[in-house]
Structure formats: C-alpha cells, structure tokens
Subunit: 466 residues, 2 copies
C-alpha cells in the first residue's frame, strides 16, 4: 500500500487536553469488546449481502461501464449538468472540488466538460444556468440521478430540461443528451428512461444515497471530468483492508467512531470537520450528510425514544480562524474538532520578498504551503491550550487514491458509530413527512388530508410578526 492517509488522535486524549475534556485511553479500551462485536456484525452483514456499499469498490464492472460510456461521450460535450440532490449530488461535488482545479469551469482549455451540479430548486440558480447554456445546448449533457425518480427536486428539474431540449433542439434525440442514473428494475425514472430509450447507469440496490458515491452515482461525472476513478476505487479497497481488524487501535474507522462516541457520551455533541485545504472543503458537506442522516435518530434499534445524533459542522481553515475559532476556543466545550490536512499540495507558491517591511519580514520568500500547514498546527495548539480535543486526518497528498481512502474510512466509521449508538444507520424516516407535506402544498390529489392539516400554517398570524 502506498501513501496511506493517517488518523492522529493524541490531541484528543487527557494527556493533551486534560482529564476534564480529554479521553482516558481506558475509556477507549472499554469500548474494545463492543467494537469487536460490531466488527463481526458488519462482516456478517456484508457476507449476508445486507451491506452492499462495502463491496462497491470491488465492482470493477461498474468502472468499466463508466469508461465505456465516457469514451463514447468525451469530446462531444462542453457542459455536464448533474440533476440530483443529497446523496446524488454531494459526492459528485466533493470529488470535483477535491480532484480538479478550483478554476476548472473557468478555464478555456479543460480536460473535460464544465460540471454543474444542480441540487436545489431555486429558479434564479437554475434559470441563470439555463441562460448560460443558450447556444450550447447541443454540446450539453444532463445526468439525472434518482433511485425512484420521485424526488420532487430532481423530477422538476428533469421536466424542465426535457421540455427545453424538446423546444430548443427539436431535431435532436433526447437520448443523446440525457443519461439516467437510477434503479435497474423499477421506479418512475426507470420507466421514463425506458420510454425515452435513455442510456442508463445504476443506482445499486440496497445502497442508500449517502453511501453511493463510489457507484455509478459518483463515478460517472468524475470520469467525465477526467478524474481517475480506478485510483479512487483502489484507495477505497486499500482502506477496506485497514478497517477489517477488530482491534480498535488498528482500525482507523472503528477508532474514529469510538472516539466520537466516547465524546458524544461525555456531552460533546458537536463534531466539527475543518480541512486546511480548499480542495477538501466539499468532502465536509458529503460527511455532513453521512453523519447527520445516518446518526440523527429518534428511536434506537429496540424502538425506545432516544433522540440522539451528533451535529456535524463544516468549517474551513484558515478562513474560519477568522470566524469560528473564537467560539471554538472560548465557547462551551461541546465540540470535537477533526482537522484534515495534506502534507503536500499539487503546487506551491512563494511569498514575495518583504525584507524591507519589518512586520512582514518573517513571511519573506517562504512557501505558502508552509504557512497554511503552520496555521493548522497553530490553531490546533491554541485549541489544546483551551482544553479542546482535536483529531487529525492527514493526507500525504490530495489524489484520487487518498480521497478514495477517506471516503471509505468515513463510510465504515459511520457504520461503527451507528452500532455504538444502537440506532438504524441506514434509514431516514423523518424525511418522509416533509415530502408528503410538499405533495400536499403542490396540490397532489392523493394528499388532500395533509393539505387540510397544513392549511393553518399557510396563514401569517400578524400578532407574531415583527
């Protein structure tokens, strides 16, 4: 295995931040038997076919299908628009930010199409994109991603672009401009795709959206933008070997979960992820869904009302040193900070000469990579002085191989964490009511009862308006 990411937790221990706010290694040891049980449970679930996300990195036929398709499509398109939301968008965004240039969409010479991931139903946002595509529609490809096809956001976007393509490119075949990523067997989008004879990709059965980035869901847009998806999957497979041991300290996913769980039990219910690399910032949004939707649950596995779940928080170094660190250091000691950092950057800059400016001479001719990594350590040091526990995931470099490791480590950590918390990691029952309420408000004939229930909330009570 080359270039593994590492997980460092010394600065979360009592020896670093004191006994009131740090973990005693004995507390972690106490979790070892439970971790061993969970390790066996997860292995059994996997063997029994009920944990299919674990096997995605081994489904090399998926990568092959993506390659066959992208080889056919590449060079034909200036724009790739992903229509998806939640797990059908956050992974795609995270891979693009991590593995392509921050100015990718602005460059005149790119290695692939511009990528736009539309994960909302804001008419200004989508409208301005459609304006931008005017005159380029024949060079624009849409990838609509939805397991069921009934997600209101994705469905409405699809209906808009379908109509637009029909009106603006009346001669064109819709199948030349739309790839549907959906369930292989059933569902609304499957039916639409079959009727329109669209090329389809697979939302794998039994894999929830938030665990699906290493399937066609995340791989297609990445490959279209020339991200090396084989290396991404290789990274995930190599991490898979590392998260098999039942011994806590030899399994970074189990260890991460155990530490987070121990802190959650001690009342530290806010979990901040703070990368010191612009490229890693959207991995935090991906993690934010994974952690919140998997672990925020009202009931435990026995049906008891528990209302648990750490709140994941996204931050960014150094930017948020000038926004959030005041609170992190002096506010309630209710947070655990996970830094992400990278040993090497794809490129570096040299700070200009400043010998003649006494206050800035210390910066003169130094590397910017040294500055950002120094600021990370400085911030960690300052937090430790305030007894705030800190963890670090260190990337040797930001590459498909290391990002693949990171994704897989955090997916498996989520599985461990869910079991430690005793909840169902893989459902999201609370999302349903809002969907039905939306149906009702949009006049769906099947939801008139709900419509009556919401009616009172449509009216503003002037008494409580300022």
């Amino acid at each position: 295995m080359t270039k593994p990411i590492t997980f460092y937790y010394k600065n979360a221990l009592a020896e670093a931040v004191g006994p009131d706010h740090g973990l005693d290694p004995a507390e972690l040891e106490k979790l070892q038997p439970r971790i061993a049980q969970i390790t066996k449970l997860l292995a059994d679930q996997r063997a029994g076919g009920t944990l299919p996300y674990r096997d995605l990195p081994y489904r090399t036929e998926m990568a092959q299908q993506v390659h066959d398709l992208t080889n056919r499509l590449k060079g034909k398109f200036e724009n790739l628009i992903v229509l998806g939301i939640g797990g059908s968008a956050l992974g795609n965004i995270a891979l693009q930010t991590a593995l392509n240039s921050p100015t990718y969409n602005l460059q005149s010479a790119r290695t692939g199409p511009r990528l736009f991931v539309m994960d909302n139903v804001d008419p200004v946002q989508l409208g301005s994109l459609l304006d931008l595509l005017q005159g380029q529609l024949d060079r624009t490809l849409f990838n609509v991603i939805s397991k069921s096809g009934q997600t209101a956001e994705t469905a409405s976007q699809f209906l808009i672009i379908q109509e637009m393509l029909k009106n603006k490119l009346p001669q064109a075949n819709l199948a030349d401009h739309i790839i549907a990523t959906t369930d292989t067997q059933s569902g609304t989008l499957r039916k639409i795709a079959d009727a329109l004879q669209l090329t389809t990709l697979e939302v794998p059965a039994g894999v929830g959206g938030r665990f699906s980035v290493l399937s066609h869901v995340g791989l297609f847009s990445a490959a279209m933008c020339n991200i090396d998806i084989e290396k991404l999957l290789a990274g995930a497979r190599d991490m898979d070997e590392r998260v098999k041991p039942s011994e806590l300290t030899h399994n970074p996913a189990a260890l991460y979960a155990a530490i987070q769980f121990a802190f959650y039990q001690k009342g530290k219910n806010l979990s901040v992820m703070m990368p010191y690399a612009f490229q890693l910032k959207d991995l935090c949004d991906w993690y934010r869904q994974l952690w919140a939707e998997s672990l925020g649950k009202a009931h435990d596995q026995n049906g008891n009302l528990v209302n648990v779940g750490p709140t994941p928080i996204k931050a960014l170094g150094t930017t948020d040193q000038h926004s959030q660190v005041q609170l992190y250091r002096e506010g309630p000691n209710d947070k655990i900070i996970t830094f992400l950092e990278t040993e090497t950057f794809d490129r570096d800059l040299t700070i200009g000469p400043a010998e003649d400016i006494p206050e800035l001479a210390y910066l003169s001719q130094q590397k910017m990579s040294k500055l950002i990594n120094s600021e990370k350590l400085a911030t960690e040091f300052a937090l430790i002085q305030s007894q705030r526990p800190c963890l670090t995931v260190r990337f040797p470099e930001i590459s498909p191989y290391t990002v693949g490791q990171f994704i897989y480590m955090f997916e498996v950590a989520t599985s461990y964490m869910g079991e430690l918390m005793g909840i169902n990691t893989y459902d999201q029952p609370a999302v349903e009511l809002g969907k039905i309420a939306t149906f009702a408000l949009m006049g769906h004939p099947d939801h008139q009862e709900m419509s009556k229930k919401i009616e009172p909330f449509r009216k503003i009570d002037e008494k409580h308006l300022a």
Copy 2:
C-alpha cells in the same frame, strides 16, 4: 418604507411546538425590562461614539468616495480580486452571491469585472486563480483589505501579487492595479500604501471586521460589480428606524435576540440559519462569523469564567432537506431554526408538462418558485410536528434594499444578544494565540519562546497514530 423584510416567530412559541420546547410569551415579557435597558445603553453608546458601526449607513460620503473611484475604474478591468479574510471577505462574498447572478463570473457579457474573493492561503486555490489571470493581468485589479496589514493570510497574498505584478507588468504602475482598504492613520498596510502611492479606502475606526460590510470594506467590490450600494444603505437606514424602539415586539433585532437568548438559556445552543434561496446562502457565512465571534466568549463583562456562545450553523433549503433535516427532526432537540425565504424571485421557471407520468403529474406546469416555497413550509411544518422551534425572516424580494435591512437587523441583534449574555460583543481575544503560534512556526524572531512551546506538538507520536 417600502418592501420591509419581516420576522415571524409564532412557530417558536409554545402554542406551536408545545410547552417543553416552545417559548411562553411570558418568558419574552420577562426580558422586556432588560431589553429596554439595552436599547438605552446602545443608544448611549452610539451617541458617545463607541458604536460607530451603527452610523455607517449614514456616512453617505463613503458611498460617494466609492462611486468616484468606481467611475474612474469601471470598464478598465476584467477581474477584481479581493484579498481579505474574515470580516474583510465574508460580507463581500455575501453581497455578490445575493445580488448578482449565480453564473456572474461565467457570463461573457457582464456588467462589471469578474469577482474573486481570496480568503485563504491555499496554494492550489490561489495558484489556479493566478494561472487564470495570465495574459489578463493588465486588466486585473486587486483590492487588498486589512485594517492592520499584519493579518498573515492577507499579507502573504499581497506579497505574492505585488511580486507577480512587478515581474509580469514591469512597465506598469502598481498603483494602477492595487486599491488598499485599511486604517486611515496607521498600520503596516497604511505604510505600504503610502510608500507605493496606492489609492486607499477606509476601514472605519472602531468598527470590527465583522461589522464592517456597510463601509468601504464591503461597498467597493459591490459597486464595482454594479450592485446598487445606495439602496443597500437605504435598507440599512430604514431598518435602523425599526430597531430603535425599546418595546420588544416592535423591534425585530431586539426580538430576534431575546428569542435566541431565551432558547439558549433553555439549552438550545445551536442556531441554524437555513435560507430557501440560493442567493441568500452566503449571508449565512457572514452571520456565522458575526454570531460566533461576537458571542462565543470565555468571560462575562465582570470577568467571570462563563464559556458561553450559541453555535451558528449554516444550512440551505431545499438541499439540506436531503442531508440535515433527518437530524433536525429526530436528533436532540437542541436547535432553533431560522428560515430565510423570499416571496418573489427575480425570475421564475415553469416545470414542464407531466400529465402522462402519473407520479409526477402534480408538478406539471407549476412554477418552480411555488415548489421551493412549498418545500420551505413543508419542512417547517414537519419540524413543528417534531416540536422543533422555527423562526422565519421573510424577504419580499432579494434586492440591495432588503439585503441592507437584513444586514443591519442582524448586526443590531448581535449587539442585543451580547448584552443579554453579559459579554463583550466586540472583541475576539481567543484569536490572538493562534496568530502568535503561526508567527513562531514561521520563524518570526520575536516569538522564539512560543516556538519552544509548540515544538513538542510538531512531532507525531506514533503510539496514537492509526
């Protein structure tokens, strides 16, 4: 006053979410005497000159100076790069996202230069921007913003671009490419600007970065990108009239603070801001600094150790319905959600026909604005059913005038909240240690003692590495 934003709080009251998690209006009434005191205190501070941010909207000469400058510069530049961090960046970003098109930088026909706000020291991010500017440097303007000029991030960026301009445009006058926004009297950037004879703008005395967006700090980049800064200031002035009453229910800033304070005291220490409009999303980052850095404090005004501060959280509707709402509904009831919504969007889209797709027929030919606003109400309804308190700030439209109101309302709310919490709203003592530690790690000769203190943390202890 035309088109005021409104603040709706009924769904945070016990009558909406029940007595365990909602506020009894009597609890708010109990805060009325304190609010009256604070209203007088803030008025006295303002009259005494110690609360200068309150008067920024009336400093019309500032807007005039900005206009004089932008009139001179407009049309000359393809790119405007803001070098700043924290309060010297978040307001600029928020105004641009709110008031210009989401595709502004990508449009071939724009009304102003492309805008890039560089609020980090990531070599990949800055390096890719500098690559993009190759060949356009003569049409690129930099606005470096720092009160002191000693902020490491901004200073290092400045040194890089200064060197680049000297090398790449040896014939050019630096003063034609750099505008410095800084202290009028003293500081490192003031000295540099004077030496280079740069045009300067003002960081107003006594106004902290996070309260400075309505000064030159935020106004210049906005005006360069054709945002109507007069209307922005007019909105702030009209809100100023609304936040003068000492009666709680007639003062939206005092009311917002009182509600947040009452919930904080009841253990709801997470304050989520969730706009249902893509354009408002970066106002949440601005608010996040304002709230966290102002209110996250170790000591109260009497010097007692209190370690207080709500944690502000940024979310986005509808996107985060598929990421965070599961947690918000079922997790610990420790959050108060502030929705932002807009009655009208600058443009709308019609969802395409779907009569032939039974599951999607309810969407057929409906407006997208109706869908996003329905999803907001549906999410609020679902949260209320789970006894989660909800607030709403409603924009009649998203415009300079309404955004100006919003900014001023939340600045003043922060002042009220700080007084309710009994802390110093305007300092940020905890940021200092990290700065000094950075100096030390970068080899600053004045900080060798600190260097010794940090030294042990540079070494990875393999025992706690996985």
